[in-house]
């Protein structure tokens, strides 16, 4: 068969028309299939949903399992399965009034007995000693069907915050476990019950007997899309309604900007997680001098990083914690870049010469370990810092590693400079202070941001032991020590970026990065 111009043009036009029709048709089909369904992206399968294990996506557990109290805006504690609580005996006794009329998704009644069964699954166990309430747990008394009393050996700092965590504190139906008491089915008291879950998606429908107000749409599908670009493409194609969340399906600032330009609603929350640079004086001798640490910190242009790399979505950080968190301490402005002052400090510290400074014949070279998998966007930030350090005579070598190596390298302190993320609400400030800065606390996941057994540990311990009005001034001493010694260099407060389709109305960012923000959403069909 010979192809002339006419048949070619006819064929081409037909093919283009078919492709367009197919695209439009698939959109219609998706929209029809999605009526009454909120489709959210998750970056990996939801995993083992056992509230006492540490594998699942927090936000998926949040759909099904509820805590005694909820963490509200600004750290406000709000009632959930407990309607009232009273702390007595200087923080050693907690009286709880449980909500009546609550049932688990399998019909089991939520009362003092099932509450006790749940709390005894983790309180007082070694595995959960990272939580003060578990570490100091003494006994649990059932007063009546809806009243229980918890007794602790020591006053528990941030007790109510701890009780709002996603795990291990949330409540599982006692009937859902196997004969050996091990986790079986994910059955909680929450508004969503799991219908199915596999490696491609988790599907949830209303828990009809829910005590609170149910969302207006009946179904929620969490679709597994590991690749960030595919998630953005799926949102554009109308296959998804909601993408975002640091631990759920992160969007980069660049993706946020592109989606905004394409007419999607992009919601940016200032965020309560801080990107902090750690110094490792144990490995890099130069960093033992506070002047060198200060020079490095002053040499970084936080404003430019926020403006260019985060497209203005992030705020430069001058503190370990953002003001959005309780007990975040006095809020200082982020240090402005001052290359001349940084160079002068290095001169004063004895590091001279150019282009790379040296002292006693040793060049001022530092190794910055980054892992873009663990801290999104960190490699580009590292490249900017590398160029800025070169200007003040520091040879910064970037070593980029994969997620797993980053954890081992940080634990084994195989870095001179490294990036850390604070845990954010509801864990902070105490979670990060203890987990990342207290030398006696064993942290085998992230490693340590900064430790000093002689100077810093007593300050942290004093802050942990403080109660009431004493908490603010004692924890401020920790912040002051970190600041006065330039022990860490906070860089930016990482923003929480969400994008949603036009179907979604009333969306607001979740209070913590561990919640699924389904609550206020209305779906327009």
């Amino acid at each position: 068969m010979s192809v002339n111009r006419r048949t070619f043009l006819q064929g081409a036009a037909g093919a283009i028309g078919l492709a367009m029709a197919q695209g439009a048709l698939s959109k219609i089909v998706y929209a029809q299939g999605a009526a009454g369904t909120l489709r959210v992206a998750i970056a990996k399968p939801a995993g083992n949903l056992d509230p006492q294990s540490h594998y699942a996506i927090w936000a998926i557990q949040d759909l099904m399992f509820e805590p005694l109290v909820k963490y509200g805006k600004g750290g406000q504690i709000e009632p959930c399965l407990a309607t009232d609580w009273k702390i007595e005996d200087g923080g050693k006794t907690l009286h709880l009034t449980l909500r009546e009329g609550v049932t688990f998704q399998d019909g089991t009644k939520f009362d003092a007995a099932s509450c006790k069964w749940n709390l005894e699954r983790w309180m007082g166990l070694d595995q959960f000693s990272w939580m003060n309430c578990s570490k100091h747990f003494q006994s649990l008394d059932v007063v009546d069907d809806y009243h229980i009393t918890l007794n602790f050996k020591e006053p528990v700092l941030a007790l109510m915050q701890e009780l709002s965590y996603t795990r291990p504190t949330r409540f599982l139906s006692p009937k859902s476990v196997g004969a050996d008491g091990k986790f079986g089915e994910p059955v909680g008291t929450g508004p969503w019950r799991q219908i199915s879950a596999d490696d491609t998606q988790s599907v949830f429908e209303h828990h009809e007997g829910y005590w609170g107000e149910l969302p207006s749409y009946e179904r929620l599908e969490a679709k597994v899309i590991p690749d960030a670009r595919s998630r953005v493409a799926a949102l554009r194609a109308g296959e998804l309604d909601l993408v975002g969340g640091f631990w759920i399906a992160p969007l980069t600032p660049e993706e946020g900007k592109q989606l905004e330009a394409a007419g999607f609603n992009v919601v940016v929350d200032p965020g309560n997680v801080t990107l902090v640079m750690a110094f490792n004086p144990d490995r890099a001798e130069a960093l033992r001098d506070a002047q060198v640490r200060k020079a490095v910190s002053m040499g970084i242009d936080r404003a430019a990083i926020s403006k260019v790399l985060y497209h203005g979505y992030a705020k430069p950080a001058g503190n370990m914690f953002s003001g959005a968190l309780p007990y975040a301490g006095t809020q200082y402005d982020a240090p402005a870049r001052d290359a001349a002052a940084a160079s002068a400090l290095l001169e004063k510290a004895g590091w001279t010469g150019s282009p790379i400074r040296s002292k006693d014949g040793k060049p001022l070279a530092l190794e910055l370990v980054v892992s873009p998998d663990a801290v999104p966007g960190s490699r580009v930030i590292a490249e900017v810092i590398q160029s800025e350090m070169k200007e003040i005579g520091i040879d910064l070598v970037i070593r980029s590693v994969d997620h797993a190596s980053k954890h081992t390298d940080m634990l084994e302190q195989k870095y001179d400079l490294g990036f850390f993320l604070t845990y954010g609400a509801p864990y902070d400030p105490f979670g990060s202070i203890v987990g990342l800065c207290l030398s006696t606390f064993h942290n085998d996941v992230e490693g340590k941001l900064v430790t000093d057994p002689t100077n810093l540990d007593p300050l942290i311990n004093a802050a942990m032991a403080a109660t009431g009005d004493q908490i603010q001034p004692t924890i401020q001493k920790v912040y002051d020590w970190l600041r006065d010694n330039d022990a860490i260099a906070p860089l930016v407060y990482v923003p929480s970026i969400w994008a949603h389709s036009k179907r979604v109305h009333g969306f607001s960012s979740p209070v913590t990065e561990y919640d699924m923000p389904y609550e206020n959403i209305l779906l327009a069909e």
Partner: protein, 298 residues
Amino acid sequence: MNMLNPILARLKKMPRAALITIGLFVALGTFAPWLAPQDPSAQNLLEAGLGPMAAHWLGTDHLGRDTFSRLIIAANTSLVSVGSVLGIAMTIGIVLGTIAGYHRGWVDDLLMRIVDVGLSVPSLIISLAVIGIVGPGYWTMVLALALAWWPMSGRISRAVAVSIMSKPHIEALRVLGASPWRIYFGHLLPGTIGSVMVYATADAGTAALAVATLSFLGLGIQPPTPEWGQMLVDALPYLESDPRQVLLPGLALTAAVIGFNTLGESIALNRIPKPLTRRMLAARRLEVASWDKENSDA
């Protein structure tokens, strides 16, 4: 099929285009530090993502660095790394291949089984394993790729060496009592190197791609050294807002790989007898004439 003819005809002329591409690549790579108009690592965040203009001929990247300078310096990075990878791989391959081809017997069996193992595992997996153990870095990457690459040249060298060893003139040398060293260094090695070099040209494209792949994965060349694969991965987030940043390193890499492949193929295919030029004819006549002289001397 008629429609394809002009394209096919154009493709036939490719070797010349390939030669120009590779010539340009080698020239740029060699003289890159003198040719790059600006410091490839100098950042200016205020000028990030600008399009082509007088100050930056091909625009700037996401950190405000001059794209043109980075592309040129990246040619140097690729040239040096590909050269080193092939150099190391060919050396190991040719040495082991010729030893196997010369010695035969159990030495041949042993070496070729090692080569088999090397060939049975995909080269990228070997490289990833080596980098995983030693840690990422420029020379680790070169070493890792060389380790993954040598079995191929080892197998080719052995085949060439076996065919040379079975040629009559080697037989004659043995009969005349030539030492193994003389046969190996004087006859076997030069012959093998010549043939294997042809394959090396064709392999250079694949090696350049492997270097780019490892850098793309963040396991090869570390910042701030510009490298095409790394430029690609750095620009990927901007694929939609500024496709130029992705297209330029992508095109450079594609041109280099296609160039090397076409060149290698045409060199390999061109090893057919060519019509003799007048000068070659004269040289042969002279040589043949000298044989007479030798005979009369004898």
